[in-house]
């Protein structure tokens, strides 16, 4: 059986995943370059999680994508669109509010 603490950590991280990804797509990225960029910042996300997420965000109308034939092989590039920007701003507001509340709550310990 999975370690319950690890499961909870995974759930906590999963909750921040969309905000994390949207925050990095102000300039266009293809899946692998985004994964590398996040890893360089200290956040390693499973490839099998990240790439389908990009697709879902596009289906939800938050990202635009297009195939590029430049470079060594065809790559699909993703970038925030207008709705994506608005959502990112809203999520950022939520994040700061939540972080402040949690700071207070955890500070009581």
């Amino acid at each position: 059986m999975a370690d319950p603490t690890q499961t909870l950590i995974s759930e906590l991280r999963r909750g921040t995943l969309v905000l994390t990804v949207l925050s990095q797509l102000d300039e266009e990225q293809y899946g692998y370059s985004l994964a590398q960029r996040l890893a360089d910042q200290g956040l390693k996300i499973d490839h099998g999680t990240l790439y389908p997420l990009l697709r879902r965000l596009e289906e939800q109308g938050l990202l635009d994508s297009e195939w590029s034939l430049e470079g060594s092989r065809p790559r699909r590039y993703y970038r925030l669109n207008r709705a994506g920007w608005e959502t990112l701003e809203t999520l950022k507001g939520e994040w700061y509010g939540l972080a402040a509340v949690l700071e207070r709550l955890l500070g009581k310990e």
Binding site: Y30, Q36, D46, H47, G48, P52, R55, R56, P74, R76
Partner: protein, 342 residues
Amino acid sequence: MNTELLDRYVQEVGRRLPKAQRSDVQAELHSLLMDALQDRAEGREEGAGEEDQVAVLKEFGPPGEVAARYAPPHRYLIGPGVFNIYLIVAAATAGALTIAYLVLIALTAWREPWAAVGPAVGELLSTYVSALLAGFGSVTLTFALLERVVPASAWVEASDKAWDPGSLPEIQAADRVERAGLIVASVFLVIALIVFNLFPDWIGASFVRSASEGSLRWQAGPLLAPVFFSAYLPWLNVLWIAQLALNVVLLRQGRWQLLTRVVDLVLSVGGVILIGQMLTGPSILSLASIQPAEVRELLTRLLPNVVRLALVVALIATVGEGIAKAVRLARGYVFRREAAAT
């Protein structure tokens, strides 16, 4: 560079995806896997080998898991919006079929000679399983179709968004009497008592086309056999009058009490016995006096089956009602004992 393992992986993921998105996801996945492989073998003269492919694929995860993440979010037969209603309807269907078959088994055991009971019940049980599967399948199919025809947002809106807390039903005291229902039932009981005892010819009276006159005329002819009036009506009168008296008492008291619940249950049991007798005893119909002959023939073919079906339905309903009353009675008794103990 040999990328056979990667190609097989991409094919496996694609096989599990809806056709509409398959080729696009496969193309992107292949590109991403190649990026990862190239990155892994960077700086090495010999390039990426099979062990690098294995490592990259392990990092991506099993094809089934990856495909599930790419697949559209709502890929279920019956979604969460209707699942609770589905469970209730499926359980009600299974319950109704079970009661119907229990009644049939009881009737078979009662009517058939002892030696024939075993095979007959065995046959019934095998058809019971088929009926259960057919019923369950029909309900599932209906809900699966609903899931696809009615948009998911409609269920959510109906159950959550447009929900008004003020629309919650009032808490019903378990012992409170439903006056409106009792009044309606009493009216029907009085009508039945009057018609069956004073105007039995009304039952079955109908308009028939007279062949000689070519016009519609009112024909009052008894449809019920003498055995109905001699063997069953006296008992029906006892049950109806007792039920009427019980209704009056309940309307006056305004709440159920132990004694009224017991009397109600006894009347239900009496109803079950009487309907069972009607089903298994001589026919309650008398169609010999119906004119013209073609109408009589038609009725003789149809009416006995209709009456039998109606009696079976009444029997099932009465048994179900009786069980519900017994459960309420038992619950009330346990509750009172617990209350007394504290």
